[in-house]
Amino acid sequence: MISIHNVSKQFGSLKVLKSITADFDIGNSYALIGPNGSGKTTLIKSILGMVLPNSGSIMMNGRSVIGEWNYRSKIGYMPQIGRYPDNMTIGQLFRMMKDLRANSRQIDGELIQSFGLDKIMEKRMHTLSGGTRQKVSAALAFLFNPDVLILDEPTAGLDPLAVEIIKAKIQQEMEADKLFIITSHIMSDLDELSSHALYLDNGTLIYNDSIALLKEETGEVKLGKAIATIMKRNLSKEAAL
């Protein structure tokens, strides 16, 4: 559904993405893994059109997304840190978003209910805790029932109960034939939530295949361990060079 071909991006002299090529298909869930500063967020932002790549192409359903904006009606995005206009209430924010995407087919307000946001609709954004804001972000991402969901650290900063709610929601939506791209530092979460893994290091895509294959190849049962093995292998390869 989304295919990235030879995408490179540099900020100043810093090369953040080095010729990345990957395909994301509907029905799958992709875990985007890598150390801090490896280019995960930049890759996500490239797909969303917030960062314009220096070279390469990004296609969605066979059409380039560069300079386009309509394709985003099929995407729900949950940012790492959600900040909203200070004096806006939660209710106003949802209303505004519904206004902005007025032509969306159906509204999925399930997370609003399960997070209990419907009870605090009159609260202003600047009075909310970081966790509550994350809940708002998550609820927004799922609100328009999009085909593609891009979640940047969806479980960070959430209380355990909320983590379970969002996980359940993701698993439920995966059944509904959607495409997920998820980054997280919590490997156990990704283990539960994704079918494929992309491992990025220093702007280079090192591993891109199904998690089952990864585990089989490394002989590990857990995703975390398997990734650690890949990292070590990669380090020794670099040392050899």
Partner: protein, 255 residues
Amino acid sequence: MMRIVKYVALDILRNRFVVLYTLFLLLVTVTMFSIEGNSDKAILSLLNIILMVVPLVSIIFTTIHFFNSYEFIELLLSQPINRRSIFLSEYLAIATALCASYVVGVGLPITFFNPSIDTVYMIISGLLLTFVFVSLAFCAAVLTRDKAKGIGIALLFWFYFSLIYDGLILYVIYSFNDYPLEKVTLALISLNPVDLARIIILLKLDISALMGYTGAFYKQFFGSGLGIAYSIGMLGLWAGLPLILSLRRFRMKDI
């Protein structure tokens, strides 16, 4: 697009700083008219403050607000909305909110104290200045990603138009004092929105007679319909050009 404007403008209008700004303008205007018996004098004293404060607040507030709403812009960018709409919405929202402050803080009270043509010019000039400096703030904001640097650039803009530019004009007058400079200075004034606004208001006031031959020359020019159209057009250009330039940059910008 207007939906975003509506929500963002409503948000800004509830901003504590904007409320303070409105109250400050209101206080200054009412005070000026209370202590100065003569309304011309009051407008003149008010003029000094407005020419200094309106650009400063507009440019600094806008720059800070732009950086503070970076994440929100990010959120909007993840929605099916094009960048131009987002940018122009932010612009219109801030400009509308600051203009509303100005109208409440200055426009309404001076209309109440002194309903005359001077007042109309005062209000129009102030509103145009707000638009101009909001534009310049967007310029400063898209030039860098660093908030401190952005505010620095914004301050520099303000400093340049409020002070440095006039210093340069004075230097030009000093250097070429033996030549007739009316036309040259007229052209130079058009290149600075603050000067332009100041001259328009001064010439509208009775006080312009004090400005001697130069004043008479300017009055002849700015007094005509063409001159008024020209000055409003120039101020419009000063609001439009930086906006277009910053929009072009924003469309290419990585958020």
